[in-house]
C-alpha cells in the first residue's frame, strides 16, 4: 500500500500560507537602531533597520570614512554595540591618524574589543607582490574573515570601505555584486547592520561608480562635496530607504572636532 502525502490541494494551501507569511515578514517594520550621528537618525525617521545593509556613496573628501568611523564609534560608546571596520583600500594607520582629529579614543575601544579594525587592502597583505587573474573567483576569503570576526566578537555594526575597489580589482561587476549580496545575506543572518562604502568620480552624475552597487542595498545615502564660490561644502541626501519615509532633498553636513553634524 502506498502511503500518500498531503493532497495537492493541502500542499497548495500550505504553500500559499507560507508565501503570505513571508510577504508579511518583508512588509513588517523591523527593529530600528540609532546611528548616534547628530541629526542623521531624524533624516531617516528613527535610525537604521537592524540587520539591513546600506550603501554610502560619494566623492573622495566627502566624509565617507568619517561617517563610517562615527557610526562604529557611537555604536560602541553610546549603545554598547561592538563594531568591525574592514578597510579594503586605505591603510589602517592612515584611518587612525584621521580619527585623531576627533575627540574619539579609538585605541581604548580597540583594547576593549568594542572596535575591530581589519586591513584587507591589497597592498597591506604582507606587502606581497601580486598577480591578478580574476575571470573566475569567489569572495569567500572576505566572507570567512568577516563571519569569523562577527561571530567571535559579537559584532553588531559592520563597515566595508570601499566596496568599489573590489569592482575595480576584480573587473567582473556581476560576480562582485553577487558575492557582496552573499556577504550581505550572511551579515543579515548575524543581525549586523552594515554600511558598504562606494566612491563616485568628480563631475559624474551617477549615484554609484559602477551603477550596480545601489541594487544590493536596503538604503542609499549620498555624500556631496560641492564647490561653492572659492570653497567647498558638504551635503548629505537620503536617496533610498527601504521600508521607511525619509527626508527628501539635500541637507548641509559639517565635520566638527566631535564628528559629523547634519545642519540645515
Amino acid at each position: 500500500m502506498v502511503k500518500r502525502g498531503k493532497s495537492s490541494s493541502g500542499f497548495m494551501a500550505e504553500l500559499k500560507e507560507r508565501i503570505i507569511a513571508e510577504a508579511r515578514a518583508l512588509e513588517a517594520p523591523g527593529e530600528r537602531m540609532l546611528t548616534g550621528i547628530r541629526g542623521f537618525d531624524e533624516l531617516v525617521r528613527g535610525g537604521l533597520f537592524r540587520g539591513a545593509t546600506y550603501l554610502l556613496s560619494g566623492v573622495s573628501g566627502a566624509g565617507k570614512s568619517i561617517f563610517c568611523l562615527e557610526f562604529l564609534y557611537r555604536g560602541a560608546t553610546e549603545y554598547g554595540e561592538p563594531g568591525l571596520y574592514v578597510s579594503l583600500e586605505e591603510h589602517l594607520d592612515s584611518i587612525l591618524r584621521n580619527a585623531r582629529n576627533f575627540r574619539w579614543n579609538l585605541k581604548s575601544l580597540i583594547d576593549q574589543q568594542m572596535l575591530i579594525l581589519l586591513d584587507l587592502s591589497v597592498v597591506a597583505v604582507g606587502e606581497k607582490a601580486m598577480s591578478l587573474n580574476t575571470d573566475a573567483f569567489t569572495l569567500d576569503g572576505l566572507y570567512a574573515t568577516i563571519e569569523t570576526v562577527v561571530r567571535e566578537g559579537g559584532i553588531k555594526r559592520v563597515v566595508l570601505d570601499p566596496v568599489s575597489v573590489l569592482f575595480l580589482q576584480y573587473g567582473n561587476v556581476g560576480v562582485v555584486r553577487r558575492e557582496l549580496n552573499v556577504i550581505s545575506g550572511m551579515l543579515k543572518r548575524h543581525g549586523c547592520t552594515s554600511i558598504f562604502v562606494t566612491e563616485t568620480e568628480y563631475g559624474k552624475p551617477s549615484i554609484t561608480r559602477f551603477g550596480v552597487e545601489e541594487f544590493m542595498a536596503d538604503g542609499v545615502f549620498l555624500l556631496y562635496w560641492e564647490p561653492e564660490g572659492d570653497k567647498r561644502s558638504r551635503y548629505i541626501e537620503i536617496y533610498k530607504m527601504r521600508g521607511s519615509p525619509h527626508y527628501e532633498g539635500k541637507k548641509r553636513l559639517a565635520i566638527t572636532d566631535n564628528g559629523i553634524v547634519i545642519l540645515y
Partner: protein, 96 residues
C-alpha cells in the same frame, strides 16, 4: 622537498574551476622539476586561515618564501615564470 619555499592554495567549497588550479600548479612544478610542498587550505572549513593570511578571494595561490601571491587562476606560463625564480633561488642556495 624544499623547506624554504612552499605553495599554499586557498580554496572554498564554491571556488570555480578548482581542478584547473591544481592541475596548473602540479604541471608547472613538474615541468620545472621543482619538488615543493603544496598545501590546500579550505577557507570555508578553516576561516581562521583566511583571517590570518588576509585572503579576500578564492582561488588565491601564495608562493611562500618568495612573497608572491596569485589572485585568481594564473596561466601556466605566468606561474612558471614566477616559479623559475624559486628554482634560481634554490640553485643559488645549493651553490652557496
Amino acid at each position: 622537498m624544499s623547506g624554504r619555499f612552499k605553495i599554499i592554495i586557498f580554496k572554498s567549497d564554491r571556488t570555480p574551476r578548482y581542478s584547473q588550479v591544481i592541475k596548473t600548479v602540479r604541471s608547472s612544478l613538474e615541468k620545472l622539476g621543482l619538488n615543493l610542498d603544496v598545501e590546500e587550505v579550505d577557507v570555508s572549513k578553516n576561516p581562521e586561515a583566511a583571517v590570518r593570511s588576509g585572503v579576500v578571494s578564492t582561488p588565491t595561490i601564495d608562493i611562500v618564501g618568495l612573497n608572491w601571491r596569485f589572485i585568481g587562476l594564473p596561466t601556466e606560463d605566468e606561474l612558471m615564470a614566477i616559479l623559475e625564480s624559486v628554482k634560481e633561488e634554490e640553485r643559488r642556495g645549493e651553490e652557496g
